[in-house]
Symmetry: D2
Subunit: 382 residues, 4 copies
């Protein structure tokens, strides 16, 4: 905490953008970053206006992220890390621009809008030696850390079943035709890529299941649907999963489920126990050892282990939520940046952080879903 | 209520049987039946012992259901209806025996252990003119009646998504090898038929979804698993669903999910609203009209309509549960029997009751799941 | 179960009465009673009409309970027990009439409308040698039996705090002026006695706390309010409690709390643990051993002990509710009646059943509340 | 946001202190403060060590708050506001020291350890013209803002009943004798004042009820208990409330209730509606209009009004919690400080912020509870 704060830039996240503001709060919560520069919008005037509103110096408010990468790299007090919070299709060129100067990248998910872009990014990361952090927020929640620890300690026994779902309602109506920008780019293949809901939230769900269970080698059978009129990308997906080793699962994601706000939920069952977690009540993890009463384990309370404690800020019963989970990724990124500074290789510094591999796997998940759906839900390896 | 009670017999349901006792309570709750005869076990001594424990006259406690059918049909005060609560493979011969004498049948689900048996039963029902009621208990819950009414009134708009699941934990361990009879016959294809969990609870889930939504013409892709060692029947099933008209869904059923007791849950989403119901909290239905706050509609409370009220016994906040839901089927069966007595054709008398058609559809569902699973989760029409 | 059913009569409970129908269902659930006679209404025509609707023989449908007591006592097949389900002021004369003939009484709560009546009843019970069961329904719930067992086994340590509440909303409006009969007698001191909500539901709450904790010797300070215009009896009560031995508590009961249906809730805390139970989710008991995660103990599931199992009918996850809890009192009454028949003294046969002592204590509670409230919430010994 | 950050100092909050870290996060979340100076501990070495850990310049890490006030007031870039996060008995001298220099004060609750101190503070605030903000955190929650707005708009009608409770478990054991510093000062009258739980959390509960309902002029009857051995201050309190205008209520607070983490809960009932809120699920408010189904209003969702939206950061379903509620007080304090800077009088700048009046009322509440308890729960005016 006493270390100097890390100088952070931001690409995207201008006025009216939702996720940019979230990144900024997350970067502030634990006090390990200072936002000092930005290319906050692809519309120059808006970028400057947004920068001023955030108190950024005018000379570090850029019209273009490439210009920003060059200029910041040239400054003695230039940014050490950049947060990329744009629509998907901008992730790759922006990441490349900063990685080329050895600037660490914290990037929103999914990784990219195309497989080509994703591969470009992977090469850029490898070439740069810099850190690449993908903000799969939900892995930052304390009770998700506890869930993962419980699974890895064998509390559930051999895993059998993984039920994961992520249900929202905000695309129930044709909000895209009423001017909602966040809807517009998400339903546009040119900006989002080949996946709709499956990319926007399905990758979160898939990553969460992977993070907690450690199960890999999945194949899947996906049924994608576009319920909204004139939508080409899926707004609902039903996916069967088979993991290496025999565990089976289901993934449902939807953005057209009225009554669901941000309904990410994970349940995992093994041959000796089960667990259940819901993002909207994130401080609670339900754990059952088969043959015993289900226990309600709360963040900060009895039974919550060291993995949860390590990323917890306040005592039990004082709810931590989405912003704190997000902040944990930023804090861990700060730790990793300091580690890299001290000579530790980027790959070793990542710890629990989702990185380029998670990003590529998310892209593989999207592609497998799309291919499977085109083949009438045939099985496809992720 | 003032009408004389209907004379009821029972096949199966001897000592230690769980579901037989449930049927007896259900038959008593609304006071429309008197249990007067039984062939309560295939083990003669046990049948007599069970009959005595229930206070049945010795001369109406039979060793064999065929003998019982003949003897009761010959009595002036013979039974008018029989409850069949045996393992699945006995449903068909028992139903045939009683239907042949025009005795109404109330039969546990699933319909039968084989397609051949199911067809035999269907013919027997058609030939007899008697009623055949299949105890899909969960359709008797007041808030399920309300859910169905809400859907049919268009409260959710055009249906898009159906998520149904039924998770239990009782087969997590190899309880069958420790002498649990209810487990032993359920995992035995000779007594259960081709489906395990999919037959035992999957048919409940499928029927519930069908009952509430009215959606038909489904095709499905099923992934069946036997996690328990040395089990040949599925104890877990993941199923994708496509309904006529474009709605999609998922069905998960499992008997190896630690922490789940009797976790039947239904969620339905349309283009203007959604609903959610959980069997373990059955007096509550969550209804969302898109763009409004979710409402908690409770049995007996504001917003619960006449369909729920018609099958409700006590005021809001006084929980009704499984036995009352079951009792509603018995009460409606009593009403149907009286209607048939008064000359109304059996088919017209059934009202909301699940009958032979529901049974055949359940068999078709099981078969489709099994066939799909054999074909690596290929799509199969139900 | 094989024993002949006990012949039951009923006083009150005619058409439109709510609680009479509940008693009849409760008496049927476990099949240990046959309703064979009734004086179902103080309006003769209605009594006969109600009897016919229930299928009672015309000659055993009485216009008057005194006449019924005499006539039934004279029959060889006369009733063995009578359920009294009238407004409070009829409890005493009705109970006296039947007890005088040695007929067992199952009586709705609170015991009586006046202290004089209560004392008359107590003498009548003592003189008769017959059983007197007061239907404090909520003590029949399995998880309440478990809670009591947990406390008595010392799972919570030395008890410190008892929080009990019972909140309803049905008197929020002036429903009495719109013809609701159940409201009319409850707000009428001549028929209800000196207590309103405190008598109708406060006695339930107090009895439940006493039943689970075993704590006695309470003194209380009560603040009673009549929020409804022109009501003389309380419709809301706030009560402080001090038990012998140092435990303290609070009791809130209200019939004017919008959003509350039948919100009876009990929480008990000792120096090593706590528990929480809510009537509207009755199959679940939350138990905390201080320093451990809270456990969700469900009826029929792991951790639920023999006291709960003894009064449970179906497996975990199949909700039992209000009617089953009520039925347990009837079943235990049947057991007690058989015990008395076999020569066991009534007092010894009662087991867990609430009887005349509980009734007198309820009256003492009402009186203490009323007296305390008159003295501006001064402390009064129950 | 574009405005320069406010320079903040802190008194207390050194290493191992819980609430200091919370204040620092809260001050950072919305980016409106920079912590630049501190007297973080009364132990000089520890203060410097803590300052270094926080990255404070050595010359602005003070051994003593009085010295800090003088030094900072003398700097051109001195602090504009100070957060006081010490045990209660230090609040008054610290506040005085900074207010004397016109430095705004953000102070933890309760206001002070004695009435004398409280009065001193009130005079100091009045004399200074500076802002005094008391961190009654829970008033910063969006759904509490909505609740208050709903009440003030008359959604519940005329208020009748207020049930508020705040239950924790952390003093169940004698943790004070095992070295827990937070317990040690809280049970020490010299540092805490005359109230134990009633001061530490009861004042939160009382303030919350007051904030939401606007009801005033309360008198109360309090029963205070010290369950922990050798404790002189209450660790449990039961309080009856009577408000001007006729509403009645109850307040329960406890720090010895096993299973309760931070169980602050408020329920309010009027003659046309009711609401319920629980701090551990803070994004949800349950609202009932009598005669309609209860609605689940979520932060950011349909039905949540502008008062909630004004203090909300992320969309519905992305949980905001304790730190965000706290941050709202800091953000509003920043707004108030800027308003004062621009010439608006401190009193007018406070808006919804709890200030010295709320602090004095909290002291009056504590005193009334203590006096009432000494008089055996006699009624005492707050």
């Amino acid at each position: 905490m006493g270390d100097a704060r890390i100088r952070l830039g931001m690409v995207g996240g201008g006025k009216d953008a939702m996720i940019g503001a979230v990144h900024r709060i997350a970067a502030r919560i634990d006090g390990r970053f200072d936002l000092v520069a930005g290319a906050l919008s692809s519309t120059p005037g808006k970028s400057r206006e947004s920068g001023a509103a955030l108190g950024l110096p005018a000379e570090r408010t850029y019209d273009d992220f490439r210009q920003m990468a060059v200029a910041e790299a040239a400054r003695a007090d230039g940014i050490e890390a950049v947060a990329i919070v744009t629509p998907n299709h901008v992730h790759a060129p922006a990441a490349e621009a900063f990685l080329a100067h050895g600037i660490h990248v914290i990037c929103d998910k999914p990784l990219a809008a195309s497989q080509t872009d994703a591969e470009v990014m992977a090469r850029a990361v490898a070439d740069s030696g810099a850190l690449f952090v993908l903000t799969h927020t939900y892995t930052g929640y304390p009770m998700i850390r506890h869930a993962r620890q419980a699974v890895s300690r064998g509390e559930l026994g051999a895993l059998r079943i993984v039920q994961v779902e992520y249900a929202q309602s905000w695309l129930t109506d044709a909000v895209e035709s009423r001017g909602l920008k966040q809807a517009q780019w998400r339903i546009d293949p040119a900006r989002s890529g080949a996946g709709g809901a499956i990319a926007d939230i399905g990758t979160h769900a898939y990553h969460l299941a992977r993070f907690v269970t450690g199960l890999g080698g999945a194949e899947l059978a996906a049924d994608l649907t576009s319920f909204g009129a004139r939508r080409t990308l899926d707004d609902n997906a039903h996916v069967l999963l088979r993991f290496q080793g025999g565990a089976r699962g289901m993934l449902w994601c939807s953005q057209v489920a009225p009554g669901c706000e941000n309904g990410l939920r994970l349940r995992v069952y093994g041959d000796t126990g089960g667990l259940s977690w819901a993002q909207e009540d994130p401080d609670v993890l339900w754990v059952t050892h088969h043959g015993e009463a289900t226990r309600r384990i709360v963040r900060g309370g009895p039974g919550a282990g060291d993995a949860a404690a390590a990323v917890s800020r306040v005592p039990a019963g004082h709810p931590e939520g989405y912003l704190e989970g997000f902040a944990t990724l930023y804090s861990e990124a700060a730790g990793a940046i300091r580690a890299v500074r001290s000579g530790i290789p980027a790959a070793d510094a990542m710890g629990d952080l989702p990185g380029i591999a998670a990003g590529l796997e998310g892209m593989a998940f999207i592609r497998a879903c799309v291919v499977s759906a085109e083949r009438n839900a045939a099985w496809v390896k992720v």
